[in-house]
Point group: C2
Chain length 427, copies 2
């Protein structure tokens, strides 16, 4: 099995390459832009995530013997194209919005410049990464807003493709989740991991008491005990009896979580376990989290709704040719005219305009080098002449996201469906 990312690509990228190599147009300079025509699901803002993964996978986008043999044997492209692919290294420039930043309709979140040949090949991989990761981060941000200061654990790995799970944990962490259940995300990205026990652990033992004893013997009283396998009140009583008031936390994974949390809090306090935290899980999404704001809950575990983007599993980002070199060597804006799919041609810059209080007012997209006074430039160099120069840590992206959300008007945090929080304007 290969570690090359080159075949994570749609067949037609290669057939376009072949035809363009033959017509000569393949070597024309081209600008492709990643943007969303709208924010699906009535969301108020999008969250950029995945850019760092794009940079990682770009460096592994190589057609080696294994890939070339497949393409030859299946007659995907001709020998001239295979020769081009064998030498392929992206040698152009990429700039983009930084991870954790916000985006709005038409925000050019990634701009890829190179020859048509080198830039068109990256379409599928770039869109796969950004459509997935931005969708997850955008949902995650709503959840962290709803949770306020309470920590969120990402635990949706089992509800999505095994590798998507790792990327989802990363996107959630950028958008403010505290930790993940996914060990690979801990290994690959250094995200804190968390977890203690499932119902199976209790069922395995001859009694709930025996299971709790085993867990406490191994992990100490500070562990989190799962209390809803049989009867919650009895489990809480047993838990505090065995662990003492130093019991770290209890987890409730079923039923009316608000009512159960109230009940368990009263019981814990009555038993003297006033410092024992209450964690809740069970099909939580941003709405359920918000509904628990007044309940005595100390942390949330979110699974399905996080990894499926809470109703919006893909971000509707497209990768469009916006400019290309003409036969006479000039860079010319281009855009298709397909019904109902608006595109704006031209190489763009993007700025965010803030009001005096520091709140965002406008997403301004410019062409032709216009620089608005006081506008915060949103495009940053990521790849220069094929060399990755825009790497940063997840901690930076996470901090950027926290700061960016603080610039949103308050109504942008409303969970209901609506329009983008600020207008996108073109100058």
């Amino acid at each position: 099995m290969t570690m090359s990312t080159a075949l994570l690509t749609d067949h037609y990228e290669l057939t376009m390459l072949q035809a363009a190599l033959r017509s000569g147009a393949a070597h024309r300079r081209a600008v492709f832009e990643v943007f969303a025509r709208h924010l699906p699901g009535g969301r108020r803002y999008g969250v950029v995530a995945g850019t760092g993964r794009v940079l990682d996978e770009l460096e592994r986008f190589r057609f080696g013997d294994e890939e070339l043999t497949f393409l030859r044997e299946h007659r995907v492209v001709d020998e001239a194209t295979l020769a081009f692919l064998a030498d392929y290294r992206f040698a152009g420039n990429i700039c983009g919005y930084q991870e954790g930043d916000l985006y709005f309709p038409a925000s050019p979140i990634l701009v890829v410049e190179g020859t048509f040949a080198e830039a068109v090949l990256l379409e599928t991989l770039i869109l796969s990464i950004l459509n997935h990761d931005c969708a997850i981060a955008s949902a995650a941000s709503r959840m962290t807003n709803a949770a306020g200061e309470r920590p969120l654990i990402e635990m949706g790995s089992r509800r999505t493709h095994e590798d998507a799970a790792v990327a989802a944990a990363r996107a959630a962490y950028i958008a403010g989740f505290a930790s993940t259940s996914n060990l690979m995300a801990g290994h690959r990205y250094g995200i804190p991991t968390a977890g203690t026990a499932a119902h199976a652990f209790t069922l395995l033992h001859d009694s709930e008491r025996a299971a709790f004893e085993a867990q406490i013997a191994s992990f100490g009283a500070a562990t989190t005990l799962l209390v809803d396998t049989y009867d919650v009140a009895e489990a809480v009583r047993t838990a505090v009896e065995l662990a003492g008031p130093a019991l770290g936390a209890v987890r409730i994974d079923s039923g009316d979580l608000a009512a159960a949390a109230q009940e368990v809090r009263r019981q814990l306090d009555a038993l003297g376990a006033t410092g024992t935290r209450i964690l809740v899980t069970s099909d939580l999404d941003e709405y359920a989290i918000a509904a628990l704001a007044a309940a005595p809950v100390d942390g949330y575990g979110v699974g399905t709704s996080l990894v499926t983007g809470s109703g919006v599993p893909t971000a509707a980002l497209v990768y469009k040719l916006v400019a290309r070199e003409t036969a006479s060597g000039e860079l010319e804006a281009v855009a298709k005219r397909s019904v109902g799919k608006p595109s704006r041609g031209g190489r763009k810059e993007a700025y965010r305009l803030l009001d005096d209080s520091g709140h965002v007012e406008t997403e301004l997209i410019t062409t032709g080098g216009l620089v608005p006074e006081g506008g915060v430039p949103l495009l940053h160099d990521l790849v220069r002449d094929g060399k990755v120069i825009g790497r940063e840590s997840l901690a930076e992206a996470r901090e950027r996201h926290r700061s960016a959300v603080a610039t949103l008007p308050l109504e942008a945090l409303h969970l209901g469906r609506g329009y983008a929080a600020i207008p996108t304007e073109f100058a």
Copy 2:
């Protein structure tokens, strides 16, 4: 970077292992079962997919130096547990429904038997694979039903995580899709790949005519030309002028597809291109495909809705301990009593009962060795004593799916929301 799948696992599987090793319960025999409590989205049936991927990834589920070092450095588990993991090989048995087969609520689509220690570790990976692949295959099956004899191309790679895309193409193929745009799916699984050109290819050239000429020069008249970059009627005229009546196909990717297809068919026929096929793409799902049944369409390309499960991106499958060895050495049925999350304990067998005309009537789940007369056994051996014995080709799974759908009552193919097509009964 590792190719081991061992860290595609939730943290708590390992902490449960540690505590159970310490209590001694880790070595008890255990039976875990994968099933869905319901079919989300009001679906009438589910489609099994991903089992073959489970077998592949099971063989790579090994804790090597890299994985153990991570677990040690991050103090996920203690040294005794690390020593257990270093030697870990699943040595138990797995049986399951075969790929392409149908499933209904409570169908035990995978049954994992071993010690608790060896079986609990596989929970996350098995659920990730099956929840994703079954969701995609279940959506894909509705689309192939809606398309009838017309071929479907899977082209959703750009709308989902880059590795999920490969699995999605595989699941769609099992459920009857004819081909995929994803080259890795062609390489890894031998699925036919397809694709010709995007709008960018037309925009790259100085005119649509120049683009069409380039494509025909490279791929011949039998290629598929994309005709909606500017004006469809003009593009069709140019296409037939350049390729002649032997033009393979035209693709329409925007607008009212039914009306556009009618128009283009008339135009093609008038131009003598009566054999030129019409392919349509653009946010198609099973409903849109069904609505195009009367339109002169020769094939469909499906992207977003396929890879996102058409509203149901995850299959709601769970992995539950249903039996475990007691202290006295007997295998005992177990089930949690959590509110609103029904589970049935006990090691099960499953049979499908058909009526005289060969249509399915009942999904019968039995315990205790009861074998119903004439029932078709649904569980097949996949892994025996840790050795994979249940591999089969995608062609077999695809054929099984075709046959299985033919046994469904007609109303099960209705696209509206409803209940499972047949009842699940327990004996």
